[in-house]
Symmetry: C2
Subunit: 381 residues, 2 copies
C-alpha cells in the first residue's frame, strides 16, 4: 500500500478545507458574490505580505508575476541589477534577456547569501541606469534565505526600486514588505499559501507605482495598471482561476487564524528540527548559516548516487523530495517543510531519509534523526 | 495550524482514491453499469473474506449485519451461545435479549481470549438447543484477538454454526473463513476496508444457509435470503449506499493489488512497531499475549487521568485515539493501526503519545518510542 508524501518546495500539500472548496460548483467571476470573495482575498493577502499596499493577483505561475515585475518596470534603455545566487536569480536574468534589458549582475556564490554592501557599492557607481534591483527571499535551488531587510535599507537610499521574488519564502521566511521597504514583493499560490499552482501575486509600493506609471512599455495580461484598476472594483481584469481562488480563500482563513508571525515561527521550528535530524545522521547541510525556513538543502553523502536516492525515496517510501538543480544536480537533496506541514511531517520525512540511505548502503541508526528532531518537541498547535 | 489524525479503531482514514470516487455523480442502482460494479465488489469481497461463499452487502453499520446473523438464524425457542469478552461480545447478548432469544453465555475475562475448550464443553452438554455460537475476531474494546481457527474446529463437530463478528478484525487479523470453518463472517466498511461507515457484510457457508432456510422467523431489510436472491442478479434488494460502494470498489482494488496476506502482514508489522514503541516508554500493554493487529490497548499509567490524556491528544496534537469503554473507561487508551495506515502513521501516533504524556507530567524521553518502533524499519511498500 502506497501513501504519497509531498516534501518538495512546491507544489505543497493542499489542506482538506481547500480541496473541498475547489470541489464546489464554479462561481461566475462577474457577480457580486465573487467580487466579495475577491475583495476578502486581496485584503487577507495584505496581512500575509505585511503591507498596506494592494496585492495584485494574476492567473499564472510565479514566473508570470516575475515577468510582470520586469515588463511593467523597465523600458528601453533601462538597466536591471540582478542578484544571482541560484536558479531563481537566473530566472530574473533570463527574463531581462528575453526583453533585451541591460543587466548589471551581482553574482552570489551558490549556497551563500548576498552581501548588501556589494549591492550598495554597485548602486553608488555613477552613470548607471539601474531602475530596479531584483532579489530573491528564499532561493529555492540552494535553500538560502537572503537578507531582504538589509537590501531594503540600501535600495531605499536610491531612486531604484527593490523587487523581491518571495515565491517560495512568503509566509515561511519573515518578509515585512512595508517595514523592510520592499517595493515589489512577488508570491505564488503553491508554496506556504497551500494552494495548487496557478496564482501569482505582486504588491507594489507607491515608489514602485511611480516607476511603473513612468514606464512607456505597454503590456496586457501582466499589466500592473490593468490589475490595479480591476482590483479597485474587486475584480480581475481577465477571467481568474476561480476554483484556485476559492481554495486560497480557505487557506488565507487558516493563516489569519494562526497569525502570520506564528506561521513563520512554525516554519522556523520545522526547519530547525529537520536540520537537527539531518545532522544527527552525519549528513552535511548545504547552506548551514543562511538556511531558509522553507526548504533544507542537504549534501548527498560520499558514495551515494543522488538521483538514485531521490528515486528510492519516491518509489520505496512514497516520499517526494527535490534533488539538486543545475550545478547541484546529484549533489544535494532538498526537503521542504513548507505550507501545510507540522512536526509529524518532519518525522515522516526524516524516517524516510533514514530508510532510503540505509537501503543504499549508507548506514543510519534507525530513529536517530527523529530523536534529534524531537529533542525540544512540544505541540505546534 | 491543526492537522487531524484518526487513530481510532474505526472509522479509519479514507484513501484519496476512495474520496475521489465518492465525489463522482451518483449512478442509479438499477442500471447495467451499476450491476457490473456491484458484481465486481462482491467478487472482491470473497478474496478479503477468504471464502468461496457469496458475501452479502447491507446498507447499515456492522451492527446491522450482527442483527441479521441473529434474526435470520434463530427462531423461537432456539438458544445462542455467546462468547462475551468485551463490549462487542455484549452486543450479541443485547441483540439476543432484544429478540427474546435464550442465551448461553461463555464469559471471558476482559483482556483475555476465549478458551475453545470451554465452548467445546458447553456444546457437549446434553439437552441444549444451541443453534449458533457467536464469537468475535477482534474484540475492539480490549484489543484482543480470539482464536477463531480453534473455535471453528470445535463448532464444526456439532450441528451449531459459528458466527464471527470480524468487523474490526477483517483484513487486519488473519481470517480464513472457509479453511477455518466459519459459517457466518461479518464485516463492515469503516475499518481495514478503508471506507466510511455505512456498509456491512456477511458471508454464509452452506451449513449456515441450511440453518437460515429452516428458520421460521421472517425478516425483511436484514433478510439474508432476500440479499442472496438480489445478489444472484448482481443487485441489492433495497437502495444501496451507492457512493460508499464506489469508494469500496477503489479500496478493494488497493487490497487486491497488495494481496490480502500482505495486507494482514502489514497490520501485524504496524501492531508490533506500535507495541515496541509503547513499551519503550515504560507503558504496559493491556493484552500483551493476545493482541489484535487492528488496535493496541495500553494501560493509562498511574497518576494520569485517562480522559484528560485522550483530550490532550486530540486538542494538543490533532490526534484521535480511543479511550476505554465500559469498565475500562479511563483505564486504557487504544491506538488503531488499521486500514490506510503505514509506519509513518505509527511514528505520528507514538510521538503524539510521547508529547501528551509529557504534557501531563509523565516524563518520556522524546523520540524513544519512535526509535524502538523503527528498530527493524524497512519500507512497507
Amino acid at each position: 500500500m502506497k501513501k504519497e508524501y509531498l516534501f518538495a518546495p512546491g507544489p505543497t500539500p493542499v489542506p482538506p478545507q481547500a480541496l473541498e472548496a475547489m470541489a464546489r460548483p464554479i462561481l461566475h467571476h462577474r457577480t457580486g458574490k465573487f467580487r466579495e470573495i475577491f475583495k476578502e482575498i486581496s485584503e487577507s493577502l495584505k496581512e500575509v505580505f505585511q503591507t498596506s499596499n494592494q496585492v495584485l493577483i494574476f492567473g499564472s505561475s510565479g514566473t508570470g508575476a516575475m515577468e510582470a515585475s520586469i515588463v511593467n518596470v523597465l523600458g528601453p534603455g533601462d538597466q536591471a541589477l540582478v542578484i544571482n545566487g541560484g536558479k531563481f536569480g537566473e530566472r530574473f536574468l533570463d527574463l531581462c534577456k528575453a526583453y533585451g534589458i541591460e543587466i548589471v549582475e551581482v553574482p552570489v556564490k551558490w549556497g551563500t547569501a548576498v552581501n548588501a554592501q556589494a549591492v550598495q557599492q554597485r548602486l553608488a557607481q555613477p552613470g548607471h541606469k539601474i531602475k530596479a534591483v531584483y532579489a530573491t527571499l528564499c532561493e529555492t535551488s540552494t535553500g538560502v534565505v537572503h537578507d531582504i531587510e538589509a537590501l531594503g535599507r540600501v535600495v531605499a537610499e536610491t531612486n531604484a526600486i527593490l523587487v523581491v521574488d518571495a515565491i517560495s519564502g512568503l509566509a515561511a521566511d519573515q518578509l515585512r514588505t512595508d517595514a523592510w521597504q520592499v517595493d515589489i514583493a512577488i508570491g505564488a499560490s503553491q508554496k506556504a499559501l497551500m494552494v495548487p499552482p496557478g496564482l501569482a501575486f505582486a504588491s507594489l509600493s507607491p515608489k514602485a507605482w511611480k516607476t511603473v506609471e513612468a514606464n512607456p512599455r505597454k503590456v496586457f495580461y501582466f499589466s500592473f495598471q490593468l490589475a490595479r484598476k480591476a482590483l479597485e472594483a474587486s475584480e480581475s481584469p481577465f477571467t481568474p482561476p476561480v476554483s484556485l481562488l476559492m481554495a486560497l480563500r480557505e487557506t488565507l482563513k487558516m493563516i489569519r487564524e494562526e497569525g502570520i508571525d506564528k506561521v513563520v515561527a512554525r516554519h522556523a521550528d520545522l526547519a530547525r528540527r529537520t536540520r537537527e535530524g539531518v545532522r544527527a545522521l552525519g549528513l552535511e547541510l548545504y547552506a548551514p548559516d543562511v538556511s531558509s525556513n522553507a526548504v533544507t538543502a542537504v549534501k548527498i553523502p560520499q558514495g551515494i548516487d543522488g538521483s538514485l536516492f531521490v528515486k528510492r525515496l519516491r518509489e520505496g517510501y512514497g516520499v517526494t523530495v527535490a534533488g539538486g538543480q543545475g550545478s547541484l544536480k546529484g549533489k544535494i537533496f532538498r526537503i521542504a517543510h513548507l505550507g501545510y506541514c507540522n512536526t509529524f511531517d518532519v518525522l515522516t520525512a526524516l524516517s524516510s531519509v533514514e530508510g532510503a540511505l540505509n537501503d543504499l548502503g549508507f548506514s543510519c541508526e534507525p530513529g536517530k534523526a527523529l530523536q534529534a528532531a524531537l529533542q525540544t518537541f512540544e505541540t505546534t498547535h
